[in-house]
């Protein structure tokens, strides 16, 4: 903390111990060995044990506060005995008041809502350097910290404070020992020399160096290669702004700067005063016992108390009385002069008194305006005070804020004395300390007021958290034959029906119109029956604006409903940037790009699905094609989910066989992938299982007998139910593979899924080469979930392996029944062509977000393998026994 040793410390602390005699090395080894044993024994102590020791130590320190203060002044010849008594009391009583109820052993803090517990681990042996300026108070404070944190300290007092430092250690040690502390917990170097310090700093059993002192000690500590709490010198600027209470400010500054004759390094060094109050402030200082130096006196003072060569203060002035310094310099001052005030015109080497002065000499600067005052304070701060302490007296919050912003100081003391304010717990609620961390500005590792937690290794015990999950679907879903009638429930002034040409031709648009309440203006926006393009969507948005629509009815398959979702988004939030919203994310709740919540328009979206596969009527997804940029934009956010879903099978009765099969298998893939997804939950499982059951039962019927109303109805429901599952649990690697393959070779999505499906079941049922990290699942369960599906379908099997195998067989049979090609090769894609495409396919499949929820982390090589299996064809899929693989 104290910089008075600066001159001495310009001598480099040696890095090795060559010059130490064997006797001295043996002595130092004994100290370390004793401390190591004490620290080891200390680890067995409970919180109650240490608290039982700390209290009597505090009382002993207070009892000896006067003796120690007197001893310190006699030995060091600096400071004020009465102030040192206060320092000793603060170091004990105030420190105790802060730490007495703090837990420092075992569990020290608990955060039940975060399932997090912090536990204390002692450091072990600490080597502590004690400054000359606070030789006893620092020892008292650190001894309390040591016992409270179960560490053993080896103290190294300043050579000129060796006796008083040793006496403080003795009092603390004997008291601690008497109350049960481990033998050897404190020791004190008999005589401090640089070689011995260097030896201890580098000793393998010394775990932390606690260097409170000048720059040299701090630098040596940090250079030792050991963890260090090195807190060094300062140069405190103080700004006295015109709105301040001048009486308070002047008295506080005098209290602070004369406290222990200015030896606390947080004390004010250069006072910057607003022009308007400069004269009255100096007058008040003079009235209260300060001597205002004239120009000549200032020059004389600077020449005497500052070393012209180094620019640092002269050690002989440190901690001396103002009157004594004046006498030494040759100034004529009143006998009881408290403080010498020296006006300066700037900061830097040309203005010697602008540096740190640990004695009652305060330089003052007259600032013409706030801006100039702040700049001078910044100059002082940068002239040796970075990271330490700064003081401001003001009632203007904006000035205080600006000062705090531009000054780099660990402590910014407002409207109170700098030195005592920085010590904490007297004028403010700062943590009480005798070591001021100065942050990186001061070459330190902390800006904190050093206290108990800095002497502990804090272990964090992080229990697994139960991640919040969700199940979000549109809050109104109408299903079964003629569910479209429910459209009449929704009043609207202006409705736009987004649909495609075939819906018009089939008369489906007319059916919907029939149920729109009378008096509603209805406009039909027909878009191509293909994945929506940006241009098409924007035309729809224009129509929405033109007709001032308050309702959108999307009637069609996934493409139409996706287009309507994006039209709604752009209509309600025109600023929404689709490109930006499509940014990838890992966790929906932590995504970087958020969907807009400010809406300038509002429109209800009713989705009426006319295929039984995508389930877009309930999903939060939409895919858009950006032809200009030649890419697809996939949007995912629950705000995209339609407000109302209508699942009316009358619109799918005329679906052709091929489409029935494709969409049906898409639905099955959704359900199977959601079922084994890492995001699966009991809610999604319920939906996934029901959808799988319905598909296996009704898809073959709907395929063979398209007019079977029950089968159509159940498949339409199955698609919606599966979509509710994957809207919340997502899909998996099957979709990732199908997306890349379908896009490259122009294969319909359902068909592409079908080609991969049996192979993916086998793949996920096996022991993964690499597990996918997932906080949502406990253990690897994909194979068990497939087995549960087999049980649900009544496929038989006694073991998990048999059941999975039966599920694969049943899936293959279903695909055969629906007339799907058995392999990619059957599509007429040559092996060479497929091989050429493989690097792109695997890359795209790997990057596809669908794969992130897959239970097994798909490696690139595995994706290629899956593609090749799909190329060769199903029937080859072999279920490897889980137990077999684990023992292989």
């Amino acid at each position: 903390m104290i910089a008075s040793e600066k001159v001495q410390e310009r001598v480099q602390i040696p890095l090795a111990a060559e010059s130490l005699s064997p006797e001295r090395i043996a002595y130092l080894e004994t100290l370390v060995s004793q401390a190591r044993t004490a620290a080891a024994v200390f680890t067995q102590f409970t919180q109650e044990d240490v608290d039982r020791i700390v209290k009597p130590m505090v009382l002993a320190g207070m009892e000896h506060a006067l003796d120690l203060a007197r001893l310190a002044v006699e030995e060091t010849k600096l400071g004020v005995m009465e102030d040192k008594v206060i320092k000793n009391m603060v170091a004990t009583e105030f420190a105790y008041n802060y730490v007495k109820d703090k837990r420092t052993v075992g569990i020290i803090r608990e955060f039940p809502e975060r399932n997090l517990v912090e536990m204390a681990e002692p450091i072990g042996v600490v080597f502590s350097i004690i400054p000359i300026t606070n030789p006893t108070s620092t020892v008292l404070f650190k001894c309390i910290m040591a016992i409270k944190t179960r560490n053993a300290f080896i103290f190294s007092p300043h050579p000129k404070a060796a006796r008083c430092g040793a006496e403080a250690v003795r009092i603390m040690y004997e008291t601690a020992l008497k109350h049960g502390a481990p033998e050897g917990v404190f020791s004190c170097l008999e005589s401090n020399n640089l070689q011995e310090s260097a030896y201890l700093m580098r000793h393998k059993d010394v775990r932390l160096i606690d260097a409170t002192g000048g720059q040299g000690a701090v630098k040596a500590a940090y250079s030792s290669g050991k963890p260090a709490l090195g807190v060094g010198p300062g140069n405190t600027p103080v700004y006295l702004e015109k709105t301040a209470d001048l009486n308070t400010a002047v008295v506080d500054i005098i209290i602070s700067k004369t406290f222990d004759n200015g030896t606390i390094c947080a004390s004010e060094q250069t006072l910057v005063i607003d022009d308007e109050i400069y004269e009255p402030v100096l007058k008040k200082f003079a009235e209260l016992g300060a001597h205002i130096c004239n120009e000549k006196e200032t020059e004389l003072l600077a020449r005497t108390v500052i070393d012209a060569k180094t620019g640092f203060m002269q050690p002989m002035a440190v901690g001396q009385k103002a009157a004594d310094i004046a006498r030494f310099v040759g100034l004529s001052v009143k006998p009881n002069t408290k403080l010498l005030i020296a006006p300066i015109q700037g900061v830097g080497r040309e203005h010697p008194l602008s540096v740190e002065k640990l004695f009652p000499v305060l330089s003052v600067y007259r600032a013409k305006c706030v801006d100039e005052a702040l700049k001078v304070c910044v100059d002082v701060n940068h002239a040796g005070g970075l990271g330490h302490t700064a003081v401001i007296f003001s009632h203007d919050d904006e000035v205080i804020r600006k000062f705090s912003e531009v000054i780099n100081a660990g402590r910014i003391i407002v409207n109170s004395p700098g030195s005592i304010g920085a010590l904490g717990a007297v004028y403010n609620d700062l943590v009480p300390t005798f070591s001021f961390g100065c942050g990186t500005g001061g070459g330190n590792s902390t800006t904190d007021n050093v206290n108990v937690y800095h002497y502990l290794n804090i272990k964090r015990v992080a229990r697994r958290t139960q991640a919040h999950m969700w199940f979000r679907v549109p809050n109104q879903i109408y299903f079964n034959m003629n569910a479209v009638e429910n459209v009449h429930q929704f009043p609207s002034r202006s409705t736009i029906i987004v649909t495609n040409p075939s819906m018009e031709q089939l008369g489906h648009v007319d059916i919907v119109r029939r149920y729109i309440p009378e008096g509603t203006h209805v406009h039909v926006s027909v878009i191509p029956d293909a994945e929506p393009e940006v241009k098409v969507v924007m035309q729809g948005v224009e129509a929405l604006h033109f007709y001032k629509a308050d309702q959108i009815i999307a009637l069609g398959g996934g493409s139409v409903i996706d287009a309507a979702k994006i039209m709604k988004l752009k209509y309600e939030s025109p600023e929404a940037d689709l490109e930006e919203l499509a940014a990838p994310f890992l966790d929906l709740r932590k995504r970087v790009v958020q969907f807009p919540t400010d809406k300038i328009n509002r429109a209800r979206l009713i989705a009426i699905s006319t295929t039984s596969g995508t389930g877009s009527e309930v999903t939060p997804f939409a895919v858009l094609t950006d032809k200009e940029r030649g890419r697809k934009v996939t949007l995912a956010d629950y705000s995209l989910s339609p407000d109302v879903a209508i699942v009316d099978p009358q619109f799918v009765m005329s679906m052709p066989k091929g489409l029935t099969a494709d969409t049906g298998i898409d639905c099955l893939t959704h359900a199977l992938e959601a079922g084994v997804s890492n995001y699966a939950s009991p809610y999604t499982d319920a939906n996934a299982m029901q959808a799988i059951r319905l598909v296996f039962k009704y898809l073959p019927i709907a395929y063979e007998h398209p007019h079977n109303e029950e089968a159509r109805c159940m498949m339409h429901n199955a698609a919606c139910i599966a979509a509710m599952a994957f809207s919340n649990a997502s899909v998996g690697v099957n979709h990732a593979l199908a997306h890349a393959f379908g896009a490259r070779f122009g294969v319909a999505h359902g068909r592409a899924n079908a080609l991969m499906l049996p192979h993916v079941i086998v793949y996920n049922a096996a022991v993964p080469a690499k597990f996918m990290p997932s906080p949502y699942t406990q253990g690897y369960v994909a194979h068990k979930k497939y087995a549960a599906v087999a049980d649900l379908l009544g496929l038989g099997g006694n073991t998990i392996e048999e059941k999975v195998k039966n599920l694969v067989t049943a899936t293959e049979q279903l695909l055969d029944q629906l007339g799907f090609p058995r392999s990619i090769a059957e599509l007429g894609i040559s092996k060479e062509e497929f091989e050429r495409a493989m690097p792109d396919l695997t890359k795209l499949a790997f990057e596809d977000p669908s794969g992130r929820s897959n239970p097994r982390m798909p490696l690139m090589s595995e994706l290629a393998e899956l593609y090749w299996k799909a190329y060769q064809g199903r029937g080859l899929a072999k279920v490897a026994g889980v137990s077999e693989q684990q023992t292989a």
């Binding site: 024994v41 067995q44 481990p182």
Partner: protein, 91 residues
């Protein structure tokens, strides 16, 4: 198979004395000596010194020192003072 030459029960209240007494009997010990620490919940600096001394004497006499029933807190202390590697432990 090692010959168990000596088995000593260490009382928590008399760890130092117990080890000193055991040390005196090391001359007659053969193979290894087992010190039962199962009733010792904590050790202090003097116990550590006694244990160091005991381990040293045993080393000189070629006797293996086995501590039985050392609790994890005491075990940790022995690791911290680097005695762990000089001793053997059994449950």
């Amino acid at each position: 198979m090692a010959v168990i030459a000596m088995w000593i029960k260490i009382d928590e209240e008399r760890v130092v004395q117990g080890l000193q007494e055991a040390g005196e009997k090391l001359d007659s010990a053969e193979g290894e000596v087992v010190a039962d620490f199962s009733s010792v919940r904590r050790i202090d600096s003097s116990a550590i010194r006694a244990l160091e001394e005991f381990a040293g004497t045993a080393d000189d006499k070629g006797v293996k020192v086995v501590l039985r029933g050392v609790n994890v807190d005491v075990y940790r202390v022995l690791k911290l003072v680097k005695l762990g590697s000089r001793l053997s432990f059994v449950a």
